[in-house]
Amino acid sequence: MTKSDEEVLRVEDLHKRYGDHAVLRGVSLTLTRGEAKVVMGSSGTGKSTLLRCINHLSPPDAGRVLLEGQPLTPATLNAMRRHIAFVFQDFNLFTHLKVIDNVRLGQRRILKRSKAAATERAMQELERVGLADRAHYYPAQLSGGQQQRASIARALAMDPKVILFDEPTSALDPELTGEVVTVMKQLASEGMTMLVVSHEVGFARTAADEIVFMDGGTIVEQGPPSTLFANPAHERTRAFLKVITHQESA
């Protein structure tokens, strides 16, 4: 949690609608370097849409996203996405590639690293997430938790300025979430800038610098976990926290 005041990601007034349904209704937030922010809220409140709009996987209808002051535009999109890693709920490892090639592909094809450099870096990142011994397995031969850790290694190898996590543990069996949360906590403590959509209360409490609570397509409340968990100002936040902290203790 080595925070600085240097702004990495700025999201300005994002709007997104699908048909008649306004999913995002003016969301703004900033991430400073080294900051870990967790976005919470009940399902259907636009959390995942927010992440997808940030890297323009779903282009926002209105609003801006700036990375280190540079706006994402259709022209700059591919060049800027390499700095914004995305970790998916269902991993989306490239199924035809071994774990090590998953971690090498972006390095080779996008960052144009040499094969030796990409391999060395891939092994470092796999080591970091505890999967060095699975480097030559195919994704289908791994457990969900291992696949998600591999996808985090794939993200890290790109030297991202920020990582977006879209419910990284939601597709996992409960006994497998721990290994992924451990890796994420370690990243947060090492100063990785991250924006995490997750219901992992354990991660939010111990690793997040700030919790953002969303409801109905807007941010209703944000603050440090100590404040937000102990003393939520908003009724919706209280109701939501009651449900998820209850689940945690169950």
Partner: protein, 226 residues
Amino acid sequence: MEFLDFAGEHLPFILEGVPVTLGLWILAISFGFVFGLVLAWCRIYAPTPLYLLATGYIEIFRGTPMLVQMFFIYLGLPEVGIVLDPFTSAVVAIGLNTSAYQAEYFRAALLSVPQGQMQAARAMGMGQTQALIHVILPQALRRVLPQWSNEAILELKFTSIAFAIGVSEITARAEQVGYRTFEFFDVFLLVALVYLVLTGVVAEVLQWVERRVHVPGVTTTGAAAG
């Protein structure tokens, strides 16, 4: 024994047509492979005019007989100044025809790759074409291989239509032997056996390729067990 004597005498002449048959086949399915991919791409990713063009092409070539297409190319096109020799005409006819079928297999295979794969590739900064080449195609081609193998073997047999415009492939040579000897029973039995051996070998090779490129989670384990 009589058949064996007959085979011993006439098989070499028929086998001289094997390079022609295989040449027709390899050129036609390779052409069909490349053009089929282009057509499939048009059907999924291209703007509407290209989509309509590709769709029309596929419907026309799947809806008319290959023999008619070949006669049109060999006998009809000279009237508008396009003169192709028999071998080239046959390659073009079979190639154009198979490309329409291959396009539909490729399209289905491309669409069968989960959307998350494209999203993950785009999210790391790949352009659409780059993602297609490095992520989508390698999976789609693995998945399409069993159907593609069927198509390839079908086309190997379809090369026999080239005899109708005088290409000296194995069916044409068998027919010549037939009219020379009047042993039609023996000669067509013989040439059928030659086709059987060719398709058998090709099927084995393609199954070997399937096993070689098998990846758990992309293709089913049936190929690996074989």
